[in-house]
């Protein structure tokens, strides 16, 4: 089980690392995050989770304005021109143990991420504070790079800051300058059944690998898979389910508070809420059944 945000924050406090915390609704993009955390608090970061052809993984954490050219990065790492791409979603869960929209340098606190290379934008060093997710996308924390460094050192890592915009060229006389940061261990992710394979981590301006092979006339495809998995998790997780119920309820109550008499308010609201919530409950039930059914198909009688 991966570290939770609370455990991480506790760890930061133990290490006496100074940070500020901001809670907000879950966000999947920097744009959304920017709505809740103003630039006065610090510099927002964009975080890419990447993988190369030999199953080695990287987190690249950069200032939002820093241009990250994947081709150049790939060459500088000694992987050739197209050697690096977005890591698949299963890897996010398996290695970093965070959810979509939540890639963060702090994910390396997990044992499972020990072979993941972390590259930080050197521009972070000029900032008073930088903003990252502490393993959960409904919280952001801002801290100075010295704090980040202290954290990394506490888990036995050397902080690596890189000029991500540099393009020193790679050739016979110029070996790839970042090759030293390629992990020595590769990781194989076991095949998980039927995940809607999405590879759209937060706010990537770089190329986005299409999640599904191109199908003729499929209007449902574009950019849907990110939303799809987070929606699915609502129906798999009782806590998220209850949160969804409470969200819908409060949204309804707030929208209808327009001076009608209390009784009629309750009547119509109750009707609408019943219909909404029953729909949610059916999806919850179907999800639970489908998971149980799947488990049943894989069931093997215990050896005696």
């Amino acid at each position: 089980m991966g570290f939770s945000k609370i455990e991480l924050l506790d760890r930061l406090q133990e290490l006496e690392i100074d940070y500020s915390k901001y809670e907000h609704p879950p966000v999947l993009t920097v744009e959304a995050q920017a709505k809740y955390v103003s630039s006065n608090e610090g510099a927002l970061s964009k975080n890419l989770f990447l993988k190369d052809k030999k199953n080695r993984y990287y987190i690249v954490s950069a200032m939002v304005d820093t241009k990250v050219d994947m081709k150049v990065l790939s060459q500088r790492l000694g992987l050739g021109k197209g050697g690096i791409r977005m890591a698949p979603e299963e890897a996010l869960g398996q290695l970093l143990q965070v959810s979509l929209g939540c890639v963060t340098p702090f994910a390396v606190i997990n044992e499972s991420a020990r072979d993941v290379s972390l590259l930080l934008d050197k521009n972070f060093k000029n900032q008073t504070r930088c903003i990252f997710h502490p393993l959960s996308n409904d919280v952001s924390i801002s801290l100075n790079t010295s704090g980040l460094d202290k954290f990394l050192q506490s888990i036995g890592r050397d902080p690596v800051y890189v000029d991500l915009e540099a393009n020193p060229g790679v050739g016979k006389d110029q070996p790839p300058d970042l090759a030293v940061y390629v992990p020595s261990g590769s990781v194989v992710i076991p095949e998980l059944p039927n995940k809607t394979s999405s590879t759209q981590p937060k706010n990537v301006s770089a190329e986005i690998k299409p999640a599904l092979p191109a199908k003729p006339s499929k209007p449902v495809d574009k950019g849907k898979s990110v939303a799809a998995t987070s929606v699915q998790s609502v129906y798999k997780n009782p806590e998220k389910f209850v949160e969804e119920i409470l969200d819908k309820t409060s949204a309804l109550l707030l929208s209808e508070a327009k001076g009608e008499s209390m009784e009629t308010l309750t009547e119509t609201q109750r009707k609408r809420l019943t219909s909404e919530l029953t729909h949610l409950a059916i999806m919850y039930k179907n999800t639970a059944y489908a998971e149980g059914f799947y488990a049943g198909t894989k069931y093997q009688p215990y050896r005696q």
Binding site: S217, P219, V220, A228, V231, H279, M283, K285, N286, Y289
Partner: protein, 431 residues
């Protein structure tokens, strides 16, 4: 009742000769199948069959004539009240607004329900395109309500074979389309513990196929030609298809669901253009010793641009798709045919033509609140409310529906599709 060559078929409901028989007919049940090809003063004005819905000069479908011609009954106020009493809940908006307006033997289903007898639901979809529009969802939304209100199981037939045959698609493609359509169907909110979805390509066989053959054995080629208009040039796959659509009406087709049950009643919610299939099925049922399936039928969802026919998947602006964004919906509704007058003064004087007004029609399908609809009807019809306001309200309502559908669909996994389509018992299907 015996019918012979040379007879004139007399329709009791409309009290006139409907057509003249000019070929051999086997003496059969008392129900009179109506023959499509016969020269008939009514049939030339509008064409309604499973593969074509149109009117001669672009006018509206005359549903009264259709009911008469087909020989089904109207869903009236007393029937709706009865449904309300028996289910202890408000009848579905589609019943209240007359969307599901015709039926066959629905009263008998209600009788059975009152007695404590069970029945099951059967509906289907032909997966002809990945893009579903609101018109496609209507029978499913209504079926979901029936499942909840009466607490009965449901079988859903995905006619991937039919689309292969009629649309000349490849088998692999129709199967894939079928699975994608199943996701949209599941998103309508069916209960997996009471619902079995199957594709013909995968399920045909066993007891189901036995029924297909038995049904086919009761229908001559001539009769099939009469009902469906087949000709010598049609591939024989077409001719052998109708029994496949008929077989799910008989509970013995589903041994894993209704083991040993030979005669569980069946209720089929569908659009009225499917009536020919089930007229044929009802005709055949007694000869196989089965009870006749009951039907409850809907009118067509009007296209955004035109007043005749139904929404078509081939014209994107004729329909609201479940994948449309809020912006798309707004644009399409703004482009819909309106019954408002050309200028404000005329509009204030004469009011809107509610018969022609598409946005108002759509609201009558989808706006749950009866009193709000009444209000709009009055204000808009008498010219005090403008088309813009009606369109705005409609856009809100549709966006909510489409959004909710999209969210629900995003939650459907391939595993869930597999589970819905697995041949498995449903022990709590009547709970």
């Amino acid at each position: 009742m015996e019918v012979y060559k040379g007879d004139e078929i007399y329709s009791e409901s409309s009290e006139q000769v409907v057509c003249k028989v000019d070929h051999e007919i086997e003496p059969e049940s008392s129900e009179q199948p109506v023959y499509k090809n016969e020269s008939d003063s009514e049939s030339s004005e509008q064409e309604v069959n499973p593969w074509e819905v149109s009117t001669k000069d672009g006018g509206k479908i005359d549903y009264d004539k259709l009911i008469d011609k087909f020989g089904c009954e109207r869903v009236d106020e007393s029937l709706i009240n009865r449904v309300q009493r028996l289910t202890c809940r408000q009848p579905h908006v589609f019943l209240r607004r007359g969307v599901f307006f015709a039926h066959r033997d629905f009263n008998e289903i209600l009788d059975a329900f009152e007695r404590g007898d069970k029945f099951y639901l059967y509906t289907g979809r032909g997966p002809s395109s990945e893009a579903l529009h609101l018109g496609h969802l209507i029978p499913f939304m209504f079926t979901k309500y029936l499942q909840e209100a009466f607490k009965v199981p449901l079988v859903i037939q995905i006619t991937d074979d039919e689309k292969c045959i009629w649309k000349n698609l490849k088998v692999a493609d129709t199967k894939k389309l079928g699975r994608e359509n199943v996701k949209d169907i599941i998103a309508c909110g069916f209960d997996i513990t009471k619902t079995f979805i199957f594709s013909n390509f995968e399920y045909l066989g066993g007891a189901f196929y036995e029924n297909v053959v038995q049904v086919g054995n009761c229908i001559t080629l001539n009769k099939a030609k009469g009902i469906f208009g087949f000709s010598g040039e049609d591939h024989i796959a077409k001719i052998s298809f109708p029994p496949v659509q008929a077989a799910p009406s008989f509970s013995s087709s589903f041994q894993h669901l209704f083991p040993g049950e030979e005669n569980l009643r069946c209720l089929i919610p569908c659009a009225i253009d499917q009536d020919p299939y089930f007229r044929m099925t009802r005709d055949v049922a007694p000869r196989l010793g089965y009870s006749k399936p009951a039907l409850i039928e809907s009118s067509f969802f009007p296209a955004l641009r035109g007043k005749s026919g139904k929404m078509s998947a081939s014209d994107p602006n004729s329909a609201i798709y479940v994948t449309d964004s809020a912006k798309d919906i707004k644009k399409k509704i703004n482009g819909a045919v309106s019954g408002g007058q050309d200028n404000k003064d005329d509009h204030k004087k004469y009011g809107a033509n509610l018969e022609e007004d598409i946005p108002f029609k759509y609201l009558s399908f989808f706006l749950e609140n009866d009193s709000e609809l009444e209000h709009i009807k009055k204000e808009y019809g008498e010219g005090r409310m403008l088309t813009g306001a009606v369109k705005k309200r409609l856009t809100e309502v549709l966006i909510e529906i489409v959004e909710r559908h999209r969210r629900a669909r995003a939650a459907v996994t391939d595993e869930m599709v597999n589970a819905f389509m697995a041949v498995r018992p449903l022990p709590s299907m009547f709970e």
